[in-house]
Point group: C2
């Protein structure tokens, strides 16, 4: 199985990508990678790692880098020698490549996904779908999380279908519980968009469980949360912000006096374990669902471990035949 | 100063309301209250409390109760003998009454506010505005938080104006920092509604600081967060849900082994203090801004302390001349 890795545009580029690539190759004997970026730099780093499995790793030279300051559409159209555009072109053109991983600008990645990889037949808008940890130790998919800020009801219908296929493909869930993010659980709750989308989701061949409240996002009672990209963005960032705020307050509280400091030392291992369970451990990258080839967008500050996980994630999506599933679902519609 | 208190429709009705009323009267010598609800029950409870300051407390008999199962508009129109409708009528008709507090059905309270109290001249939609604690120990107002799920840009313009007036009135803030909830801080970020509202807010005589991300909701960098009621509801519930989820995980972690249990005992006081700082301590009720009389909606499960705070909150709004401020701002527009 062949995957492209865009090695530039991240905070830890290209070191983390190269280390992550080497680790993924070591772990998966059936994996082959194509790295895009500055060839000399990549080769030098590989030499430092004493990497020798060169048959399974190809480097495609791409001297330019797309940054967060670039206007996404301009960058994708004009920076033809960038590591991201090269990665998109390889993913699109080479039959044997299943997909790609990038840490670069989210805007450029989404634009490139749509323009370069193309949409699966019938898909109106590809959508960004991160997977969040739940308090029950499971995972929940949030779709869309920012790619499409203004949505038509039909977009949400397709998000529901793609999100359900995604959780089936990567977690082997038989019947993911799909819910619409709303301002209450009752069927009548919602804004105009939710009201219009509700009957469309209810008519899909998925396990649609109705409206849900953002309060329950991490409860583990749902497997796929469907919303427009604006609401998804607010939900995700509210969750991240609140957890960050509470941890900050907790750290302050644990330093407030001698007694608390002692207590803090004692609970440190348990606290660390808890935070780990809340981290973006498994499937750290957000999948951009609905394109003709698989695309995973890792955090801009992803480290080698997260890159390795991103590559495994694309591999899992390919093995779960995600694109084929979504294509088949769209044909049935 | 005279305030009406709807004594029914809450989880702890009417006991918590009666105790809260007595406490508020004891604390504020210039306060007078009108309680609506079952007169015999209220009198019996007052007798148990050995309440004697009867000159400052009037009871208006109202045998019916509006529940969460009632359809709000129907309930407000048809349950004319309910404690909530009676409270609305007293607040509207009596010149010397500045406003009211209710713990009853949110839907009925908002409907009643708009239909019974009437809107301030020029206000298109009254809005629900809870105040949340920030990590810096301050407070931030979220407006609208669920009253208006589908909004026009002009509604958001008025929410900004009302939110700013509110924070000036109750906290004496000179120049509250007002931001639009968006999917990024850049001016260009946002959905169609945010794009259209941005120039309207920028033209207001308020301290509009641009777009903000939900991640920063509790950061203390903003004083008023403006959004439609659907997004506000998702934001608030995401925050509440995340904090709840993390506390649940934390409790589990503190019980996971002997070492953590010991640590947990040591940090308990600091943890309690921290949670208290995050609680809805000051101004626990959500103000429903934009009506001709002041209206505070307390949590359905409010206890006596929160009822007392709700009454003080309406008092603070009246002393801060909130209605007059909003009226003046609207006339200037």
């Amino acid at each position: 199985m062949k995957i492209v890795l865009d090695c530039y545009g991240g905070d830890n580029s290209p070191l983390a990508m190269i280390q992550g690539a080497a680790d993924a190759l070591a772990e998966c004997p059936d994996l082959e990678l194509i790295l895009t970026g500055n060839e000399a730099e990549i080769k030098a780093e590989l030499a430092k790692l004493q990497f020798s499995d060169e048959k399974r790793l190809e480097i495609v030279h791409a001297p330019e880098v797309i940054t967060n300051d670039d206007v996404p559409t301009d960058a994708i159209r004009q920076k033809r020698e960038s590591s991201m555009v090269k990665a998109f072109e390889i993913a699109k053109e080479r039959q044997d490549v299943v997909g790609m991983v990038t840490v670069g600008s989210t805007g450029a990645a989404l634009t490139g996904g749509t323009l370069k990889l193309g949409r699966i037949r019938g898909i109106r808008r590809p959508a960004l779908a991160p997977v969040l940890p739940t308090v029950k130790g499971g995972w929940v998919c949030l779709i869309d999380c920012g790619a499409n800020v203004d949505c038509k009801p039909e977009f949400l219908e397709q998000f529901a279908l793609m999100g359900s296929s995604y959780m089936r493909a990567i977690y082997g869930m038989e019947n993911p519980r799909v819910a619409l993010v709303s301002n209450g659980v009752e069927d009548k709750k919602g804004n105009e968009l939710v009201h219009a989308a509700f009957p469309l989701l209810a008519a899909l061949p998925i396990n649609f469980v109705g409206n849900m409240e953002a309060r329950e996002a991490l409860s583990g009672e749902y497997d796929v949360l469907v919303c427009d990209g604006f609401v998804g963005n607010v939900l995700l960032k509210s969750v991240e912000g609140s957890i960050g705020a509470l941890m900050k307050l907790l750290k302050g509280a644990l330093k407030s006096n001698f007694r608390s400091k002692m207590g803090g030392l004692l609970i440190k291992p348990a606290l660390k374990k808890m935070m780990k369970s809340l981290g973006y451990g498994e499937w750290a990258a957000a999948a951009f669902l609905g394109c003709n080839k698989l695309l995973a967008k890792a955090h801009g500050n992803a480290d080698a471990k997260q890159i390795k996980i991103g590559l495994m994630q694309v591999k899992a999506m390919a093995e779960g035949q995600l694109t084929e599933r979504i294509t088949a679902e769209m044909e049935k519609l």
